[in-house]
Symmetry: C2
Subunit: 343 residues, 2 copies
């Protein structure tokens, strides 16, 4: 885990993004998955500014988890091929995005989601297949029938998707490869069943940061967290660097100097994977707007100093902030709006 | 735990607030702590609309955790007496709020925070005293000296504060009362030391929802979560009702009907106290934008149905949403902006 040196004078808590590490991550992914082999997942960073950077790097198709993310991409001119890799039965919201000047594809896994997409005028769908994660996706054996239903409802069937999210963190590469192969066999079977009646439905979309180089069966990979990383993904051996952290100001020091208190807490960090990490000591606990830390060197700290913390889970961390600040050498930080947050 | 009946047709995830339970909670607190005996803590709900309701119920002094909350209250005409119960050394931000047409008091616990407040033109301070929680607050024995320093810097010293946050969840009332008494003895000692040279510094501010009726030593109580409650505070025997939940739409059902999937996940719930709770089955896990649940009755559910979930921790949950929807009988839901979120 590397930490950028220096501090800013930004109001805190501030979400900082290291431009050099970000560029490294973009290049490292593009080397393995160039162009449309990657369909970047926007849910991880929720920012059209970062999506624009990815488009400039050749990745101009996108994955989203919410209709607001889809609408925002299209409004920003990045809507040539946007996949909502998620189900929705909100006909009114689906219609409002389908009517925009972009190309929306949505995941469907049931008669109800097919009906909603058709009623909303959504042009195209992927059949979402359950490949082992207990979440969305149809029985692989039902994919062909659902594709027929979707086509009969006037929807263009572009292929299949399936998210092997339960395999992202398998530590051993060989074991991960075997498990992903078995999971993707389900998706490839579903793909074959769909292709029987829909020969142009060639998309096989899957994967994430944890399987970007393991999943060689899908023809496009949905990864987004690799841009920023976190302490969770950071435990895997991957070519990506930590590029994101939360800067916090030390606002109080214990009378006996045994701990210091920063002004970033539960509202500034995604907490589902636990406390953030600190390179210069231990995080004891977070409160709503505070973080209490035990420094390795208690005498090194003064009120007003800055600390930088690495989130345990990047996606929900970014979603808590209005903006990120892009940090590059000695240049002034550049604000990147997290403009695709909320619903 | 009670759940309001019925569902809405709002886009989901939607943060719902039951008007009847809210009114009950306001009345139940006012009966114990009328008027300025309560200094409601705005960090819990981050909404000037709710603060306005509290002002109308007689509670027109407020506690905040961030300077944005303070500025928002003042802009909304609710700034007659706003306490930032937190430290800041951001002179520029402190000044921007001190210059508004309101009355700002800030907590100080060090020479640095006193200097910042004085440099920013903040008019008044409370001396923040550590009463056992490892977070902000000076050594009780240092309170008198800090008050003298603050007065010498031109700041009006209004009294002391101390937050016994470590005692909120003590389950046994008698044990809690003994512990709170010992904790508040530290604060009262500090208060006496301050009063020696500053006889008008009479405020003794402390407490929270967990100790609102236990802490009879402070002369004002900083509680906010009681308005909404959560599964954590709901374990205490208190006169408050659950008034807040997240409504989610069922977007997928497992092929074997063993689980259902809702469209509210890690980005819609404060997760530091664990998963939200569901009255009609078990929550298995949350993903970024999904919640996977095992229903008690697997045959009762269809795609498109709505579920209502109770957050484990209310404050960070509300901070993730743009608005709450006030629900009252058959009336149309009324949007309450969470206008004091972010920093």
């Amino acid at each position: 885990m590397t930490f950028a040196a220096g501090t800013t004078s930004l109001p805190t808590p501030a979400l900082l993004l290291d431009a050099e590490a970000l560029d490294h991550n973009i290049a490292a992914m593009s080397a393995v998955l160039p162009g449309r082999r990657l369909r970047p997942h926007v849910k991880a960073f929720k920012s059209t500014a970062l999506a624009q950077r990815l488009a400039e790097a050749g990745h101009d198709t996108f994955t989203v988890a919410t209709l607001r993310e889809a609408a925002g991409l299209i409004h920003a001119g990045l809507g040539e091929d946007v996949l909502l890799a998620n189900e929705s039965v909100d006909v009114s919201l689906l219609r409002s995005v389908a009517e925009l000047d972009g190309n929306l594809t949505v995941a469907v896994d049931s008669a109800e989601t097919i009906s909603a997409a058709a009623a909303a005028g959504v042009p195209a769908v992927l059949i979402d297949v359950n490949v082992g994660l207990p979440r969305c996706g149809c029985d692989p054996a039902a994919a062909g029938d659902l594709a027929d239903q979707a086509a009969a409802a006037g929807l263009r069937v572009r292929g299949v998707m399936g998210y092997e999210g339960h395999l992202m963190m398998v530590p051993d590469p060989a074991s991960k490869a075997r498990k992903v192969e078995r999971s993707m066999a389900l998706l490839l079977d579903a793909s074959q069943a769909v292709l029987a009646n829909h020969p142009h439905a060639t998309i096989v979309s899957a994967g994430g940061t944890g399987t970007f180089d393991t999943n060689t069966w899908a023809n496009e990979i949905q990864a987004g967290s690799y841009l920023m990383m976190d302490t969770h993904y950071g435990t895997l051996e991957q070519p990506f660097r930590q590029s994101l952290w939360v800067e916090s100001t030390v606002i109080s020091i214990a009378p006996d100097r045994s701990y210091i208190v920063g002004d970033a807490g539960l509202k500034a960090f995604g907490m589902d994977h636990g406390d953030p990490s600190w390179g210069e000591g231990d995080v004891l606990f977070c409160s709503d707007e505070h973080i209490t830390m035990r420094p390795a060197d208690p005498d090194a700290w003064s009120v007003g100093d800055r600390v930088r913390l690495v989130p345990a889970h990047v996606d929900p961390t970014i979603a808590k902030h209005e903006r990120m600040w892009l940090i590059e050498d000695d240049a002034e930080p550049v604000a990147l709006d997290v403009d695709l947050r909320n619903w």
